[in-house]
C-alpha cells in the first residue's frame, strides 16, 4: 500500500460520500466569491465550512446557534444593487441561494471588534496565570477581531467562585457569558443542578450552592467553555501548556463505546484526556470516567522492572513456584513528579530476557504436554488476543470474560452479523424515534449513550426505560417501569408474543387472554411498547450486559426477531393498501439493537473467538468456568494471562486462588499489580493502551486504532509484542518473527478470519509519510518548559525515542497538518489554538472529518436468516436452547409463569444437570434438582440467615467505581459513591436494617458466600425481593451474576463505625475512601439516580 493509499484508506467509514464538494445545492456569495453549500446551513457555518475566519463565541456545532454573543456579525445585502446592506448575525441567518454577504465589511468588522471590547470590560487580563492560556477561544477571537486597545476605564465586576467538586475548577471572573455551559449542561445533557443565576452583567453560571456537579458529563464544560471559567481540576494539579503537551490519537479504554480521545503527556506524566472529535462515535463529548480515569497509567503500582541488583542469581531461573518471581514488580515509587529515567538499561534487558526465557520454557513444556491454556482480555488489543490465541491454540484460548457476559456478547454479535438487525453508531442514536432501554442503565454502563438518548428525546423520541433501578434517564422517559429482572424478561417475551401475533396476521390466540395473565397495568405497558416498536420510524432497543441476566437478553433477541418480521409484514400490508396510489417501495428501517459492554474490546475478543460454522458464528474457546475445571482436574498446568484480573471475573475467588495455586506455572502479562501478579511465576510488564499501539473493536463493532502517546519505561512493551516474543520463542515456525507492527498482526488475523478485513483500512500504514515527514506528537512550539519544576533536566533532554511502528513521531519535527483523521494528534490550526480548531478538520462544521471519521464497522446487517441453528459445532458446547429462555415453542409456558416469577436459576440448574458447563461459583456439591431452586432451596445449615425467603441479589454498574482501571484515578475515586446495599423498605424491615447503617453483609447460596461491608440504602423504588449492590467495586468484585441468596448481617454496627448522619442527608460522606484521597473534596451523593 502506497502512502497515498494509506491517506485515503484512513477513513473507510460511511462518510466517504460526504467527502469533497457537496452536491450542487445553493450558492452564497461571500466577499465576492461564490461558495457552495446546502440548505439548512447558516451563514456562519458556510463561512467556517470554507475556512473563512469568522469569529464566534456562543455558536457551537454540538449545541447549535442562539445568537447571544453577537460576535459573528456580517453584512447582508439585499441584492447586487444594495450598497449599504445591513448587519446581521451570521449564525442566525439561514443560507439562501444567491445570498450576498460580506465578512470584511467595515461596519461588521467594527462591530465584531466592539463585541470583544465589551467583553473585555470585565474579563480579567490574567492570561499568564490562566489554565486556558494558549488554548483559549477568547484569545483567538480577540486576535481575530483585531481588538487591542482598551478604552473602558471603570472597574471590573467580580464574582465568588464555587467549589464544584474534585473534577471541575470554577473561575467565574473570566466568564464572557456565551451560555455554552448551561446549554451543554442543562439543555443538551439534561442536568439540573447547574444553571444561570441573576441578571445583567452579573449573570452567574454555577450551582445554587457549592457542591460536586452531579452530571457525569461535567468534564465537557472544560471543552465547551471558550475561556478559563471551567477548567480540569486534575490537570491543574500537574499543569502544562497545550503547546507543551505531547499527544496522539487514542481510544478510551473505560467502557465499550470506543470514544476517541486525545490523551496528553508531558515529561513522562500523563496530564489529561480530551475528546477527539469523531462524527460517528463520540462527537465532541466524553464522559467523566473517560476524561478523568486515565490515571492508572501514572499509578504508583504500575509494574516496572526493578534494578539489576534484584535480579535472581543466574541458574535459579527454574520454572517452579519459588524461582525467579519478582524481577518485575509493582513499586511504590511516587511517580507524579517526573519520569525517572532508567539508567540500568543493560540490567533491564537482562531481566526481561531472563523472564522471557523462563516463560518460554514453561509454555513450551506445557504445549508439548497439551496442558497449556491462555486467557486473553477484553481490555487489551485485538492483536494481543490474536497472538495469544495463536500461542495457545484456538481451543485453548479463553477470552477471559465472565461466563455470562461472554454469552451475552456472543449472542449479540451473532445477531448483528449479517442478519436483519443493525447496531447503530453512537451518534446515530439520536435519530431513533422510539427507544426501549431494558435491563440497562446507560448512564453507568455506556455513559455517552445516555447523552445521545437525551438528544433523541429532545428531538421528540419516546423513551421507555425499564430497569431494576430508576436512573437519570427516568426523567426523560415516557414510561419507566422499575421491575425485577424476571419480570423485565417476562415483559420482553410478552412483547414478542404480541408482535408474533401480528406476524401471523391472525393471533394464535386472543392476545388479551394471554395478557390477562399479567397484572393489568403491565399488560397495558406491553401492548403500548409493542405498538410503538412496530409503528416507530426507527426503533432502538438497548440492553445491558451488566445485569448479567441471560434470559433477559434471550427475551430481547426474540423480541427483536419478532419485531423485524412484524415490521416487514406491516410494511407489506400498507404497501398492498397503497398499491392503487402507486406509492414507491417503502421498506421499513431495520430495527436497531445496542448492547452496552463494559470493556473496550469486548466485542472484538468475542468476534475473534467466534468461528463460522454453516454461516453461523459459534464460540470456540472454553469459557472461564470450564477452564477452572480443567485446571482443577490437571488438564491445564501452564496458564498465560494477559491484562486480566481473573479475581474480578469469577464468583468464587477462593476456588480461583486454589486453582491458580495448582498450576505449575502462571505467566502474567499486565500493567498494574494485583493478586494475579502476586500469584504469578513470571511477570512481564506490558504497556497500557495509552502507551501502546493496537486496535479495539467497540460495542458498535467499529475497529479503531489507538496509538502510543508516550514511550513507556524501558523494557515495557506493547501487549501484542510481548506475546509475539513468546510466540516466536515457543513456535518459531508460526511466522510471528515477521510481526513488527500491529498491522502485521492484524494481517495475520485477517488471513485466518476474513471478517476482520475492513479493519485493514482504519489507519495509514506505519510507512505513511505526509510530505515525506512523520506526523509529530509534539506541537511546533514545544518547549517542555511550562509549569515544570525541574527546568534543569529540560535543558538536557534525553534523546527522543524513535517510533518504528507508526507514522507518528515523538518530536515536534514533522508535517503537522492536515493529518489523516486516524492520525490527528491534536486539533490546532493557524489562528485556532483552542479545540474550536476542530472546525478546521471537518468537511463541514459539525460533520465528518476530512478523510472520513476514523474506524471501520465490522458488523453490518445482511440477508442472513436469523441464527437459530443449534450450537453444537464447538469444542465447548454452549447449548443455547437449554440455557436461555426457550424460543417460540416454549414461550407460552414461560409466560404462564411470568405473572408469578420466572427465576433464571431453574434453567441454569437444568443446564448444570444436562451438560458439563460448570458455573464458576459452584462447589463440589452435586447439582440440586431443577425444582429445588428458589424459595424451597436446600437447608442452609447453622450459618443460615434468619430470612424467610431467598432474595435476588443483583449488581448494578456505577459509572464511577465499577470499572477497575478508572477507579485507580484519584479524581474518579473521589467521586465514587460508598458501596451500598439498596433494598426495598419491605426487605429492610424483614432484615431489620436502617437507612445509612454500615453493616457487614454476607450473602449465602449453597456453600458459596459473598461478603462486603455496605451502607444500607432503603429505597422504595427498588423492586421488592431484589437486593442491589454496586458491581465491580473492590468490596463486591465477587458479584458476577444475579443469584438468589439468603442474607446474614454481621454483628450490630459498632458505634464508631456508623457515622451519625442527619436524616435524609443527600450527600453521604465517605470517610475511608476520602481520607485516602487526601479528603479535600466533597463527595458525590450516594449510589443512585444521577
Amino acid at each position: 500500500m502506497s502512502p497515498a493509499d494509506g491517506a485515503e484508506g484512513a477513513g473507510v467509514a460511511q462518510t466517504n460520500a460526504a467527502e469533497g464538494t457537496p452536491e450542487p445545492g445553493i450558492r452564497v456569495r461571500i466577499d465576492g466569491v461564490d461558495y457552495r453549500t446546502r440548505p439548512g446551513r447558516n451563514v456562519l457555518e458556510v463561512a467556517l465550512d470554507h475556512r473563512l475566519n469568522l469569529p464566534y463565541f456562543c455558536y457551537h456545532p454540538g449545541l447549535g446557534a442562539v445568537g447571544s454573543c453577537r460576535l459573528c456579525a456580517v453584512k447582508q445585502y439585499k441584492d447586487d444593487d444594495d450598497a449599504s446592506g445591513r448587519v446581521v448575525m451570521s449564525c442566525m441567518t439561514p443560507a439562501a441561494d444567491g445570498m450576498r454577504i460580506s465578512i470584511k465589511d467595515r461596519e461588521a468588522s467594527e462591530l465584531r471588534a466592539s463585541v470583544v471590547e465589551w467583553l473585555m470590560t470585565n474579563h480579567p487580563h490574567d492570561c499568564p496565570v490562566c489554565d486556558e492560556g494558549g488554548e483559549c477561544h477568547l484569545q483567538d477571537m480577540t486576535v481575530m477581531t483585531g481588538h487591542g486597545h482598551r478604552r473602558y476605564r471603570g472597574s471590573k465586576r467580580t464574582f465568588e467562585n464555587q467549589d464544584l467538586g474534585p473534577l471541575i475548577h470554577h473561575e467565574m471572573n473570566r466568564c464572557i457569558h456565551c451560555y455554552r455551559c448551561v446549554r451543554f449542561y442543562n439543555d443538551h445533557a439534561g442536568g439540573d443542578d447547574f444553571g444561570e443565576l441573576a441578571s445583567r452583567n452579573r449573570v452567574y453560571f454555577g450551582r445554587f450552592e457549592e457542591g460536586t456537579l452531579e452530571l457525569p458529563f461535567a468534564g465537557n464544560l472544560v471543552e465547551v467553555c471558550p475561556t478559563g471559567v471551567f477548567t480540569d481540576k486534575a490537570y491543574r494539579a500537574r499543569y502544562a501548556r497545550k503547546w507543551d503537551l505531547q499527544s496522539a490519537p487514542s481510544i478510551c479504554n473505560h467502557c465499550g463505546l470506543g470514544c476517541n480521545t486525545l490523551p496528553a503527556t508531558s515529561n513522562g506524566v500523563f496530564r489529561r484526556v480530551t475528546a477527539r472529535y469523531n462524527a460517528r462515535v463520540n462527537g465532541y463529548w466524553l464522559c467523566d470516567r473517560g476524561r478523568f480515569g486515565f490515571e492508572h497509567v501514572n499509578a504508583p503500582d504500575r509494574i516496572r522492572w526493578e534494578s539489576a541488583d534484584e535480579l535472581p542469581a543466574p541458574g535459579s531461573n527454574g520454572v517452579g513456584k519459588d524461582a525467579g518471581r519478582g524481577n518485575a514488580s509493582a513499586t511504590s515509587a511516587e511517580r507524579l513528579g517526573c519520569r525517572p529515567m532508567a539508567t540500568d538499561l543493560e540490567g533491564i534487558r537482562a531481566a526481561r530476557q531472563s523472564a522471557l526465557r523462563r516463560a518460554t520454557r514453561a509454555i513450551g513444556d506445557a504445549a508439548r504436554r497439551g496442558t497449556l491454556a491462555a486467557v486473553g482480555s477484553p481490555s487489551i488489543s485485538l492483536e494481543a488476543n490474536h497472538a495469544l490465541r495463536r500461542l495457545a491454540g484456538e481451543d485453548r484460548f479463553c477470552s477471559g470474560m465472565n461466563d455470562v457476559e461472554l454469552r451475552m456478547v456472543h449472542r449479540a454479535v451473532r445477531a448483528w452479523r449479517g442478519t436483519s438487525i443493525r447496531v447503530p453508531a453512537l451518534q446515530e442514536v439520536k435519530e431513533a424515534d422510539f427507544i426501549l432501554v431494558i435491563g440497562c442503565n446507560p448512564t453507568h454502563e455506556a455513559p455517552l449513550v445516555d447523552l445521545e438518548i437525551v438528544q433523541a428525546c429532545r428531538a421528540g423520541a419516546e423513551l421507555a426505560y425499564a430497569d431494576i433501578r430508576p436512573g437519570r434517564l427516568t426523567r426523560f422517559a415516557n414510561l419507566a417501569p422499575i421491575l425485577d429482572l424476571p419480570s423485565l424478561t417476562a415483559g420482553c417475551v410478552a412483547i414478542a408474543e404480541v408482535l408474533e401475533g401480528r406476524i401471523q396476521r391472525r393471533p394464535r390466540r386472543d392476545p388479551r387472554a394471554f395478557l390477562d395473565q399479567l397484572p393489568e397495568e403491565r399488560g397495558r405497558r406491553v401492548l403500548s411498547i409493542a405498538d410503538k416498536l412496530l409503528q416507530a420510524r426507527q426503533p432502538l432497543v438497548i440492553v445491558g450486559t451488566q445485569c448479567r441476566f441471560r434470559s433477559l437478553q434471550s427475551g430481547v433477541l426474540r423480541m427483536m426477531r419478532a419485531l423485524n418480521r412484524a415490521r416487514r409484514a406491516n410494511a407489506e400490508d400498507s404497501q398492498q393498501a397503497q398499491d392503487d396510489s402507486q406509492r414507491g417501495n417503502e421498506t421499513p428501517e431495520l430495527p436497531w439493537y445496542m448492547l452496552a459492554v463494559p470493556e473496550p474490546n469486548s466485542v472484538g475478543v468475542v468476534m475473534l473467538e467466534q468461528t463460522i460454522v454453516d454461516d453461523v458464528a459459534v464460540p470456540f474457546g472454553p469459557p472461564l468456568g470450564n477452564l477452572l475445571v480443567d485446571i482443577e482436574e490437571g488438564r491445564v498446568t501452564c496458564l498465560v494471562v494477559v491484562g486480566n484480573d481473573l479475581y474480578r471475573r469469577v464468583e468464587d475467588v477462593d476456588r480461583l486462588r486454589a486453582a491458580l495455586g495448582k498450576l505449575e506455572s502462571l505467566i502474567v502479562i499486565d500493567s498494574v499489580g494485583g493478586e494475579m501478579v502476586a500469584a504469578a511465576d513470571v511477570v512481564l510488564p506490558m504497556a497500557p493502551a495509552l502507551e501502546a499501539n493496537g486496535t479495539f473493536v467497540s460495542s458498535e463493532g467499529r475497529a479503531q486504532r489507538y496509538y502510543q502517546v508516550q514511550v513507556p519505561e524501558p523494557g515495557i512493551d506493547d501487549d501484542w509484542a510481548i506475546v509475539r516474543d513468546l510466540l516466536v520463542a515457543v513456535r518459531p515456525q508460526s511466522g510471528a518473527t515477521a510481526w513488527r507492527t500491529v498491522e502485521d498482526v492484524l494481517e495475520d488475523l485477517i488471513a485466518s478470519q476474513p471478517h476482520f478485513a475492513p479493519a485493514r483500512g482504519i489507519a495509514p500504514p506505519p510507512g505513511y509519510r505526509a510530505a515525506e515527514q512523520r506526523v509529530p506528537r509534539q506541537t511546533s512550539r514545544y518547549s517542555g518548559r511550562s509549569a515544570r519544576p525541574d527546568v534543569v533536566e529540560a535543558r538536557h533532554p534525553p534523546r527522543p525515542d524513535d517510533d518504528t511502528e507508526s507514522p507518528l513521531g515523538f518530536t515536534m519535527e514533522g508535517y503537522g497538518s492536515p493529518s489523516p483523521p486516524a492520525l490527528v494528534p491534536r486539533f490546532w490550526a493557524p489562528g485556532w489554538n483552542s479545540n474550536e480548531a476542530i472546525n478546521q478538520f471537518q468537511i463541514e462544521v459539525g460533520g465528518p472529518l476530512h478523510g472520513g471519521d476514523p474506524g471501520a464497522r465490522l458488523l453490518e446487517p445482511g440477508d442472513q436468516a436469523w441464527p437459530d441453528v443449534p450450537l453444537a459445532a464447538s469444542g465447548y458446547p454452549m447449548h443455547d436452547r437449554q440455557i436461555y429462555l426457550k424460543d417460540e415453542d416454549h414461550a407460552e409456558h414461560d409466560i404462564a409463569a411470568a405473572g408469578a416469577e420466572v427465576w433464571p436459576e431453574a434453567s441454569v440448574e437444568q443446564v448444570r444437570l444436562a451438560h458439563h458447563v460448570v458455573p464458576s461459583w459452584s462447589s463440589e456439591q452435586g447439582p440440586s434438582s431443577p425444582g429445588s431452586s428458589g424459595a424451597g432451596d436446600a437447608a442452609e445449615g447453622e450459618d443460615a440467615a434468619p430470612t424467610q425467603r431467598a432474595l435476588l441479589l443483583c449488581g448494578m454498574a456505577e459509572i464511577f467505581g465499577s470499572e477497575p482501571m478508572s477507579s485507580r484515578a484519584a479524581p474518579v475515586s473521589a467521586v465514587t459513591p460508598e458501596p451500598a446495599l439498596r433494598l426495598h423498605p419491605l426487605q429492610a424491615r424483614e432484615l431489620g436494617v436502617q437507612q445509612d447503617e454500615r453493616r457487614d453483609v454476607s450473602f449465602y447460596r449453597d456453600r458459596w458466600v459473598g461478603r462486603a461491608r455496605l451502607r444500607i440504602d432503603v429505597d422504595a423504588k427498588v423492586p421488592p425481593g431484589t437486593l442491589l449492590i454496586p458491581a465491580g467495586f473492590d468490596e463486591t468484585r465477587w458479584w458476577q451474576q444475579p443469584r438468589r441468596v439468603r442474607v446474614r448481617l454481621g454483628p450490630a454496627e459498632s458505634a464508631e463505625a456508623t457515622r451519625v448522619l442527619p436524616t435524609n442527608a443527600a450527600p453521604i460522606a465517605k470517610p475511608a475512601r476520602l481520607a485516602q484521597q487526601g479528603g479535600d473534596t466533597s463527595p458525590r451523593p450516594p449510589t443512585g439516580e444521577r
Binding site: W118, H177, S199, R200, N201
Partner: protein
Amino acid sequence: MSETPLTAGIVRGSPARSLSDYTAAGGYEGLRAALKMSPPEVQQVVKDSNLRGRGGAGFPTGVKWGFVPLEEPGIDPGRGSLKPKYVVANCDEMEPGTFKDRLLIWGDPHQVIEGMIIAAHAIDANAGYIFVRWAYQEGANRLQRAIVEAKAKGLLGDNILGSGFSFQLHVHTSAGRYICGEETALLNSLEGRRPNPRFRPPFPALQGLWDRPTLIQNIETLACVPHILANGAEWFNDLGAGRDAGTKLYGVSGKVRRPGTYELPIGVTTRELIEEHCGGMQDGLEAKATIPGGASTMYMRPDEFDLPLDFTSLAEADNRLGTAGVMVFDNRTCLVGATLNLEHFFAQESCGWCTPCRDGLPWVEDLLRDIEEGRGKAGDVELLSKEMALIAPNSFCALALGAEGPVRSVIEKFRHELDEHVHRGGCPFEPPALPAIGGAA
C-alpha cells in the same frame, strides 16, 4: 357614547367597578355583539377601527390578529383543544414613567376581561393569561375577583353566553423584571423559564406560549376592544384628534401642577397636555424637555411641543409615542443626571443574554456617570455616541434600542449640557431635592 370610553367608569380611589355597574353602563355588550360574528368578522371590525397597539410599538391590532392561524392544517377539529391557542395580556408595565394599565385594572377590570374574551373569540383561542407586574398585586387581586364575578354570570368559562365558545382566563404575577414586558421574554417567564427574549422568527402569533399560536396585547389595547365592538369602528376612528384612531391614556409625570393619567383623543400636543390638562408647570419652573413615551423614547425640546402625540406624527419626527408616559423635565433638572438615571435602569434590567446590552450598557452608564460626576474627558461624548450607536441596533431584543433613545437625543438636542459637565468638571445643577422614599405622592 362617552368621549373617554376607557376611564368613564373609573372613580379614582374607589374599589373596582363591579360587574353589575359595568353591565348597567353597557358592559359586555361588545362581547355579545362579537359572539354573534364569526372570528374573521371580528378581526375585520378591529382592522377597520385602526386601533394600534398601546404597548409601545403601535402595531395595527387587527393586522396582528390576522397573523394567528385560524384553522391549523392537519389538526383534527374534534381534538382541537389538544392544540390550544392563547391570548396573553401584557400588564407588566415596568417602563419608567408609565402608569396607565394600572389605572385600568384597578378601576375597571371587567373592561379588560371583556376585551380579552373578544380577542380570544377573534382568533379562536380557548385560554388566556393576564401577566401582571409583581408590584400590582392589588390589581391582580381585583382582576381575579372580576374573573370570579364574570364566571358566575356565564360571561367567562365554558360556553360563554350560550354561544358554545369557551374561554378560560388566568392571572399570573410576574417575578419582577423589566425584561418580562418584552413579549417573548414574557412567554418564557409564563412558561416558568428564565425571561430571556426569544429569537424571532418564529413570531408568537405562530409559535408562542408553549410553542402554540399566541396573541399578546397590551392591557390598554384590550380595553379599547369592547368599545369598538359595541360602538363600531367608525365611532372609534372619530375619537382621535390627530392621524390615529381612538383615545389614549397619557400619563404625565414631572413638575407640572397636576400630574396624572389623562384619557384624551390620541394626537393631543405636548403643549396642550401640559398647559390645559395638567395646569401648567409648577411655580417658577419652565418645561425644558419631555420624554413622550416612557424611558425608551427621545427627549423633546420645547420647539417640538406642538407636535401631535400620536404614533404617526412622532414616528415622522424620529421619535416614538411608546407608552405615552410623558415625563416633563423642568429647567432646574440636569438632563445628564436624568439620562444617567435612565441608563442605570436599562443596564440593571438587561437580562444578560446578549453582549452589547449586557456589557455595553454598563459602559454607557459608566461614561455618563463619569461625565455627571466630573470625571468626563474630551472625546467621551463622541465615544458615548459611537458606542450607543453600535449597541442599540445590534442587540438581541429591543431593550438596548430603548436605552438608546435618551442617550442619543440628549446628545443631539442637549449637547451643551454634556459639554458643560465635561468643561466644568462636574454638574452645573443643584442636586435635586428628591422626596423621601414612600413620602407623599
